[in-house]
């Protein structure tokens, strides 16, 4: 013990922590912990992982975390939440370490964060890609190549075989271009009918079958490749077409006129000599012929239906395959469906040859049915597009054009096929009759010439004729014109003076009319000629009638001419046969003698009786020529 010891003051460290030192030096102490708080704080410091003897051997670091987990999994569970607690504890440890590290790194004094250098991306092996592409291309190319080889081989084969047979599939393709085909089970069925595909309402199962022909390739033909008719068709076909029985053969509609007969229908028996064999034709034409048979059957069906429904004065008769419709009394139109069926041995029987079959009317029937089909199938797109689809174009325009009620009624009228055909047939007959009459008259009458000109603008139910009556050499003086409109059952004739006459189908009426016109021409021409020569017409009459003669055609007319001086009178009478009677009179009379009743001299001016001229002995080419000569001679003075 020394006496120089220093006294050291010992004081306990500050028990309360300093929370804050104010700017004026005042210290604020954090409140001291209570006993429980102290205990909690101390307990928190305990690392429960360290309890137990194992704790001595290991180090608690991040690296030993796995060991911890392994050891903990082998340790028997002390209580049910043990594993949960362990895991939570580990998580807490990790997060604490991480937060410590980040805090320290933020300070940048002891730990600094450096970016981890990235590995450079692995360079793509360019050569690998090229090789891969080349391989895939080679695979595709090989596929295409093998296909091309196959095509080339088949083409070479086809070229080798081209002269003899055609391939079945190529033929089938060509067939499919023209007809509708479909495959049913194992067979190929085609459709020939018009039903629903082109507006027909007539149902008919027009199916045909297509098969391969392997056993008889020589007999079947295939249609020619080019439309050149000169190229010989030598190809044989690989497919065979089987047409149903009722459509085999050749059918057509025959239309002709016949006079009224007592028997309703007649039939002819055929001898086998008239049979002939239809040559084998290629499948295209065979199918076309079969379709034509179907079409003709439809035409006939439609006409027969209408013939039964239509009301007409003389009812139409449908017998077997004929329809008899009467056009005029005494003339009938016969429409008959002639179907040349094939008999069993391949020979066909010829129907009796039809006299004077009218091809124009047959064509008309075909056209009418197609028109009917088109009307059923074809809808006009209305303008504007929002208007209703059904009505025709004329009906759609009826509103904006403000059409009258009469026009509406006209629009709704429509004629059936049979009516239209009958109308055309009537017009044909009437036109022929008119032609005959005019030709006969033109050849018969030479004095006024008759020239007939048919207008080229006409329709199946209308024609127009211009008939000119004139005298040869004097057509500048006067020419009589008649226009004849030929309709279906009547003629309308318009003469030069504007009178319109409607004549019926009787041909004698037309003859009568033309003869009247001829007669009229004579007298009118004489009047014009007289005017040219200075003579005057003092009286004329155009309708003198035919008198007591037997012939009732034609008319007689007459006129009286007086010379320029006034001393000669000519009286002309022209009768229906174009015979003329000309008489001449003279005023003053030469043979005037005053008698008991008539005393004065002045009555000699009344003129004496007419003396007839011998017309056959007159010099002149025709009637007008002779008249000219007569008038000239009477005018000149030395004939006094």
């Amino acid at each position: 013990m020394s006496t120089n010891s220093t006294s050291i003051a010992m004081e306990a460290p500050v028990e309360m922590q300093i929370q804050e030192i104010a700017f004026d030096g005042q210290e604020t102490y954090a409140p001291s912990l209570s006993m429980s708080e102290n205990l909690t704080k101390l307990a928190q410091k305990i690392d429960f992982a360290k309890c137990g003897p194992e704790e001595v051997n290991k180090e608690i670091t991040e690296i030993d975390r796995n060991e911890d987990e392994a050891e903990q999994s082998t340790a028997p569970p002390l209580w049910p939440w043990d594993s949960v607690r362990n895991k939570l504890r580990n998580a807490l440890t990790e997060v604490s370490v991480l937060s410590d590290l980040l805090t320290i790194a933020k300070g940048k004094k002891y730990v600094v964060l450096d970016p981890v250098p990235q590995d450079p991306p692995e360079p793509k092996p360019a050569m690998m890609m090229v090789w891969a592409r080349k391989k895939s291309f080679a695979g595709a190319a090989s596929v295409l190549f093998s296909g091309a080889e196959r095509l080339k081989n088949s083409l070479i084969e086809a070229q080798k075989n081209r002269s003899t047979t055609a391939d079945f599939h190529i033929e089938l393709l060509r067939l499919r271009q023209n007809f509708r085909l479909k495959k049913v089970n194992n067979t190929i069925i085609g459709d020939l009918s018009y039903y629903r595909s082109s507006g027909s309402k007539h149902f008919h199962r027009g199916t045909f079958e297509v098969t391969k022909s392997e056993d008889e390739p020589d007999k079947l033909l295939s249609p020619p490749c080019s439309p050149n008719p000169n190229s010989a068709n030598k190809l044989t076909s690989a497919l065979r077409v089987t047409v149903p029985g009722e459509l085999q053969g050749i059918a057509s509609i025959k239309v002709y006129f016949q006079k009224d007969q007592d028997s309703l229908c007649s039939s002819n028996l055929n001898t086998p000599d008239t049979a002939f064999s239809i040559p084998e034709i290629d499948w295209q034409r065979k199918l076309e012929v079969a379709q034509n048979v179907l079409f003709c059957k439809e035409i006939f069906n439609q006409l027969a239906k209408e013939a039964v429904q239509l009301q007409s004065p003389i009812p139409h008769v449908v017998v077997g395959n004929q329809i008899l419709a009467s056009i005029f009394p005494g003339v009938q139109l016969v429409i008959c469906l002639s179907h040349m069926e094939m008999s069993t041995d391949g020979k066909a029987s010829l129907p009796p040859p039809i006299p004077r079959h009218d091809q124009v009317l047959e064509h008309t029937l075909h056209q009418l049915l197609r028109e009917l089909h088109e009307k059923n199938a074809h809808y006009l797109l209305p303008h504007p597009a929002s208007a209703p689809l059904g009505p025709s174009r004329k009906r759609s325009c009826a509103g904006p054009y403000a059409m009258d009620r009469e026009e509406f009624v006209e629009m709704t009228e429509s004629q059936t096929m049979l009516e239209q055909v009958i109308q055309q047939a009537q017009h044909t007959q009437l036109r022929d009759r008119t032609l005959c009459i005019l030709d006969k008259l033109a050849t018969q009458y030479k004095d006024p010439l008759i020239s007939v000109h048919w207008l080229w603008l006409n329709s199946p139910t209308y024609a127009c004729i211009k008939v000119t009556i004139f005298a040869q050499g004097y057509d500048e003086i006067y020419r009589n014109l008649v226009i004849i409109h030929v309709h279906d059952t009547y003629l309308k004739c318009i003469s030069r003076d504007g009178k319109v006459v409607q004549l019926s189908y009787e041909s004698m009426e037309l003859k009568n009319y033309i003869l009247c016109q001829i007669c009229r021409h004579q007298i009118m021409a004489v009047q014009y000629l007289a005017k040219a020569m200075g003579w005057q017409c003092v009286a004329n009459s155009f309708n003198l009638g035919s008198g007591t003669l037997v012939e009732t055609f034609g008319n007689a007319s007459s006129c009286i001419l007086v010379s320029p001086v006034g001393d000669r009178l000519i009286s002309i009478h022209c009768d229906q046969n174009s015979r003329v009677q000309v008489s001449v009179a003279q005023t003053p009379r030469k043979d005037f003698f005053p008698g008991q009743l008539v005393k004065e001299r002045k009555w000699e001016n009344l003129g004496n009786s007419f003396k007839e001229v011998q017309w056959e002995k007159m010099i002149g080419k025709n009637f007008l020529g002779k008249m000219e000569l007569l008038m000239t001679s009477l005018t000149s003075s030395w004939m006094q």
Partner: protein
């Protein structure tokens, strides 16, 4: 469509409308006319609402039973210069006007009708009708059409003579005022001209208050 002249026949003081019509029918029957159905000409007026802006415009929609598929519409716009735009349309135009009811409102009480019988004599067509405005009798209108001709100037004299034969001195010697403007006497006659004549007469009937 031939030339049509529309005439308003004044009802005499001591007679009613139907009696006048009967008298005219008797006269025309005496000339040899044949009755051939009824006729109806009606006119509905639409007026544009304030949404359109500007002075209100009117659209007259007329129907004539003689042209059953057509609807006639005349738009009168008073804005300077005042003009009338005519239109001949299909029956769908009525539906169009229905759709536009928010813009063009229909004045139901001014709906005018001319209804009566039509007679045919040779080339003439005579219609004698009573004009009513929402069931109120307004007057008698006589329409005479000469079917073969469609230029008014060519047949005015003929028509005047024919009309004077059964209408008497009501018919003036000069053509009606409709034909005296714009050289209408020498123009081709259209169904729209008939409708415009009807419209003029209906307008004059509307002005006559309370009959």
């Amino acid at each position: 469509m031939g030339v049509t002249i529309l005439l308003s026949y004044p009802v005499p003081e001591n007679k009613t409308g139907p009696q006048t019509v009967d008298l005219l029918i008797k006269r025309i029957g005496a000339l040899g006319a044949v009755q051939s159905g009824q006729f109806l000409v009606d006119c509905e007026t639409f007026s544009s609402g304030p949404t359109m802006g500007g002075p209100p415009r009117t659209v007259h929609v007329l129907h004539n039973s003689e042209q059953p598929a057509a609807v006639f519409a005349l738009l009168e716009s008073p804005g300077p210069p005042p003009k009338t735009v005519p239109l001949v349309a299909d029956g769908l135009f009525d539906l169009l006007m229905l759709k536009m009811s928010s813009i063009y409102a229909s004045k139901k009480q001014t709906r005018m009708e001319a209804r009566g019988t039509r007679f045919e004599i040779a080339d003439f067509l005579v219609k004698i009708g009573t004009v009513t405005m929402s069931s109120n009798f307004k007057g008698v209108l006589v329409e005479v059409e000469y079917r073969p001709c469609f230029i008014a100037g060519n047949c005015w004299e003929l028509m005047r003579e024919f009309m004077q034969s059964f209408l008497g001195s009501v018919v003036q010697n000069t053509p009606p005022p409709y034909f005296q403007v714009h050289n209408r006497l020498n123009d081709v006659y259209q169904p729209l001209d008939t409708i415009q004549q009807y419209l003029d007469h209906f307008a004059s009937y509307r002005k006559v208050a309370g009959l």
